[in-house]
């Protein structure tokens, strides 16, 4: 059986045994996998859809699909990456059905040209976490990420919130590594510029 390995190591990922047992019909093994990844899958779905009810439905659908298609999982990637891929597909499909969000083609090439250089370059210091309480900061971060096109939001969520590697993100989204890097750059710069408006103003307000 092919091993699921972390890149660059020979260590066998602990999920390999759980997946093998689950494939043999061990429900407890599958339940353990659900416990391990349900929060992550829920967060990914909520970040992409920006809707709690959708995220709940999608999380259930993802694990049901995984359960039904477990035999198709060959272990060429991490089990978690496979789940994330299903979650991203389900979430984007849900967004398309809703048709309420601005959409960006997942194949659209993002250029790093002069036009991409942010215009607003206010410095923010000290750290935003010291300027806002946790709930205010959470509101700002939610609002700014909501404004990103879904294609950029998805890449940012997987790379910078869920800490997937660039390669894992590319695999989960069916994109090339350069396409992921390009989208990640654009997402980070857009968020940076949006946050500058909040944190720059707050800083000015405090110093005047």
């Amino acid at each position: 059986m092919p091993a699921i390995q972390s890149p660059g190591t020979e260590e066998i990922h602990p999920d390999v045994e759980l997946v093998a047992r689950a494939k043999d019909g061990d429900v407890a093994a599958f339940e353990q996998l659900v416990r391990q990844y349900e929060r992550q899958i829920f967060r990914v779905a909520q970040h992409i859809t920006q809707n709690r009810e959708d995220a709940e439905d999608i999380t259930q659908d993802v694990f049901l699909k995984a359960y039904e298609k477990l035999e198709q999982f060959q272990g060429n990637s991490k089990f978690s990456t496979w789940l994330v891929r299903i979650a991203v597909n389900e979430s984007l499909m849900r967004l398309r059905k809703r048709k309420t969000s601005k959409t960006v083609s997942m194949d659209e090439d993002v250029q790093t040209e002069d036009g991409a250089i942010p215009r607003d370059f206010a410095e923010w210091r000290p750290n935003p976490e010291q300027l806002y309480n946790q709930s205010e900061l959470g509101d700002i971060l939610r609002r700014t990420i909501q404004g990103l096109p879904p294609g950029f939001r998805t890449v940012f969520t997987l790379r910078d919130i869920e800490n997937l590697s660039t390669e894992e993100t590319a695999e989960a989204l069916g994109l090339s590594v350069p396409a992921v890097k390009s989208r990640l750059l654009r997402a980070r710069l857009q968020l940076r510029e949006r946050l500058s408006r909040y944190f720059g103003q707050k800083k000015e307000g405090q110093t005047t």
């Binding site: 659900v34 909520q46 709940e56 206010a122 900061l137 939610r142 800490n163 980070r188 710069l189």
Partner: protein, 79 residues
């Protein structure tokens, strides 16, 4: 290195995947370019503040409800 070149290297810079030569080029450029220095610093802060803040909490109540629903649907699919 100009400002556009620097942006093109930003992702690898944050991932610490650049050669020593390229890192030095970035250091030299940002030493003389306030715009890029601010963009680099605040982009790094953007990533850090998102990484350090749980923006969508999953309460234990929600998690239990979700977990029960997932397992019920999976077991039901076998019947």
């Amino acid at each position: 290195m100009n400002c556009t070149d620097l942006l093109g290297q930003l992702t690898d810079y944050f991932d610490d995947k650049l050669s020593a030569d390229l890192r030095e080029e970035i250091r030299v450029h940002t030493a003389g370019c306030q715009h890029c220095r601010v963009v680099l610093n605040t982009t790094r802060q953007t990533i850090e503040v998102y990484k350090g803040t749980e923006i969508y909490e999953v309460s234990s109540e929600l998690r239990e409800r979700l977990h029960s629903a997932i397992m019920a649907r999976c077991l039901d699919s076998k019947k």
